[in-house]
Symmetry: C2
DNA sequence: CCAATTAAGACTAAATAGGTCTACTATTTT
DNA sequence: AAAATAGTAGACCTATTTAGTCTTAATTGG
């Protein structure tokens, strides 16, 4: 499988939607829910996580909402996945700290992992929102 | 996360162990379990899956066991993961059949997926078993 | 025939993910 | 100041997936 989770997938959809409009515009959870067709509580949860991960900036209170934390061309797929799911690692062997059991396959996994992160870092939100 | 499953991980360990020895040698599940320290029922399950996926060849009956289906240098990480987990796809959008909801981000995911498969196809069991 | 060994798949339990809800805090408007 | 709007935090339950074990059948060598 080697899949991203549904929450991450929703995150990409929400971010692509926001990137396709005026970047100064504040989007609230209710409007985004209506526009995209994902239930409000779920949208709210995803936006919260993206904000905690630094991808979005939030503005509380009446007339509040969310905006992108920086230009869409500077937000990469790697950053988004890390914000929602934590560090990208194919196996425990391939995490930054290395593999505690020091297995023979460890160094090979780190090569694969580097390649995967490279691919994800080369893709920006701007690329994705334009199809 | 973006992780392979534990079963796949065990598969790599078992295959690397087999690749490090005479390729004609028949390995039975019991000996492999003892050598690697994974419980017999689990080892047995993994070997069965790898056989169904075409990575291993099996020999039934007394004095039976498993051997690699082809030289270690010709078995790639991509093949092994596919054998255990099915087609590699980061999201539903990135699978070979494409995304039924035809979302805007679809074509970008296919690029990422191609890059990931490329990385996994460039790594052979022979590479991994030598560290 | 008998012992060893793989094959198939059912089954339980544990872990993860998905989704919702409630209570709280902050900001704007009236 | 009060009310309305919107984000914040985190608990909570459910569904799905994954891990691991077990049982029964089929195959082969001696």
């Amino acid at each position: 499988m080697l899949r991203i989770t549904k929450i991450t997938d929703y995150g990409f959809i929400l971010l692509a939607h926001m990137a396709n409009q005026d970047q100064e515009l504040l989007h609230n959870a209710k409007d985004l829910s209506a526009a995209i067709g994902i239930p409000l509580p779920t949208v709210s949860k995803v936006l919260k996580i993206l904000t905690q991960g630094g991808i979005l900036k939030s503005h509380q209170g009446s007339k509040g909402g969310y905006t992108l934390g920086k230009p869409a061309a500077e937000i990469t797929a790697a950053e988004i996945i890390e914000a929602v799911e934590g560090p990208v690692a194919i196996t425990d062997c391939s995490s930054a700290e290395g593999c505690e059991r020091n297995c023979v396959v460890s160094s090979s996994w780190q090569q694969v992992n580097t390649a995967v992160i490279g691919a994800l870092s080369g893709l920006t939100l701007d690329d994705m929102s334009h199809g």
